[in-house]
Symmetry: C2
Subunit: 246 residues, 2 copies
């Protein structure tokens, strides 16, 4: 009976500031026996935690261990909130955690619920105007779990499609050449003067929003916490805003 009473909620906290979190996400964290997450992300929901809860802070890169811990605890009957920033289903913890839960026999599988959140593309767009008001794609430039050739193949097709592009994980300390290659690829399909919005740490203390073009992006400004939005074919500059027309 213990196993089937467990609950695993995979929660998106949104971009960071508590006011851009949903009430459902907040309730999941508040109501959990155990809250599990990457250490710095737990700080984004510190206002929701209380003394009776177990809080498990994991380090960077320990996503498989975090997912396993969450599934095991829920299977043992605990009510668990596993947190991501943004939306847990957009490069967050949902996929690997669902895959682990699905491996359990049905009588040991906890109830699993997903709590969506405002993903980075949406808050970045809100800072820039309405660049995603026509069709758009969300693409990660991280080649940690996908070969670079596949990423380039996808980007070639997307660049040709003409829709806006949101680039996640554009650059990190160990991935420094990828963004330059992508900007070069995009310039082959779109004009050098295509507007690009660069948004880092949206809603957080060090939020930075800058505008550039495909020819003028300053790669040194871009980190793993940056989202770049490359305007689509229907975008116009409207005052300080990038506005896609549909």
């Amino acid at each position: 009976m213990v196993g089937v009473s467990g609950l695993l909620e995979i929660v998106g906290l949104g971009p960071g500031a508590p006011e851009h979190r949903t009430e459902a996400a907040a309730a999941s964290v508040r109501g959990a026996d155990t809250v599990i997450g990457y250490g710095p992300y737990l700080d984004y929901c510190a206002d929701l935690l209380s003394d009776g809860q177990t809080v498990v802070r994991w380090g960077m890169g320990q996503e498989p261990e975090r997912a396993r811990d969450a599934v095991d605890r829920a299977a043992a009957g605990e009510r668990v909130a596993l947190i991501s920033t943004g939306d847990p289903g957009v490069y967050g913890m949902a996929a690997r955690t669902l895959a682990l839960a699905a491996e359990l026999p049905p009588d040991r599988r906890p109830d699993v619920q997903l709590m969506p959140g405002v993903t980075a593309a949406l808050i970045a767009a809100a800072r820039l105007g309405a660049p995603l008001s026509d069709d758009f794609a969300v693409v990660s430039l991280s080649d940690l779990h996908l070969e670079w050739e596949t990423i380039e193949r996808r980007l070639e097709a997307l660049a040709a499609s003409g829709i806006a592009l949101c680039l996640y994980n554009p650059r990190s300390r160990s991935r420094t050449w990828q963004l330059g290659r992508v900007l070069e690829l995009l310039r082959r399909h779109r004009g050098d003067d295509t507007p690009v919005g660069i948004v880092t740490d949206a809603t957080r203390e060090d939020e930075r929003v800058t505008r550039a073009t495909l020819a003028t992006v300053d790669e040194q400004q871009v980190s793993m916490r940056t989202v770049l939005i490359v305007a689509g074919e229907s975008a116009v500059s409207s005052g300080d805003w990038i506005v896609a027309q549909r």
Copy 2:
């Protein structure tokens, strides 16, 4: 002085149920002098409205009038909340409203803020597992404001890219043939057995979630309040879930 003190907040209410709304969106509606929106969407934030407020209910298809009303009132010094469901920057009210505000001379332009929300693709994905955990695109099938040839051209490129697709506005009373054409187009690029999730009215009273493939979608199930998610090349079925792997 009256003009410059106005505030226009363009607010995303999320999918419908109050618990999937952000606190910032709720605060914008609560704090407004005037709340403007399509009538049925105002019902999704009825719990936030109070007696001192002016509530302006507009009919379907009156988006230009709604945007003009919101900009004019804010320019006259009111604090205005203009609401959309989902995210206002994803086929919502943001683009046309920013374009109107940008036309005003700077000394008459009110402060404009955008409050993001959980867009339909994210709640649909949460109901299906994690189909958007690898790259994805969001595409509207509505040809009210864009010629159908452009929509098909984009879809050809996107289908070839291999990423997951979220189809908004797939079908309405007056647009009945487009979805069939799109499914046929997608079948030419991807297997007949590609998983498709069909989510209508997520978080609302009549929520319906069904699973199909590109060959078995029942078009009669699909309405203007449906989002279809077509799995990408990296997706697998994991128990009842569609999970994209990255």
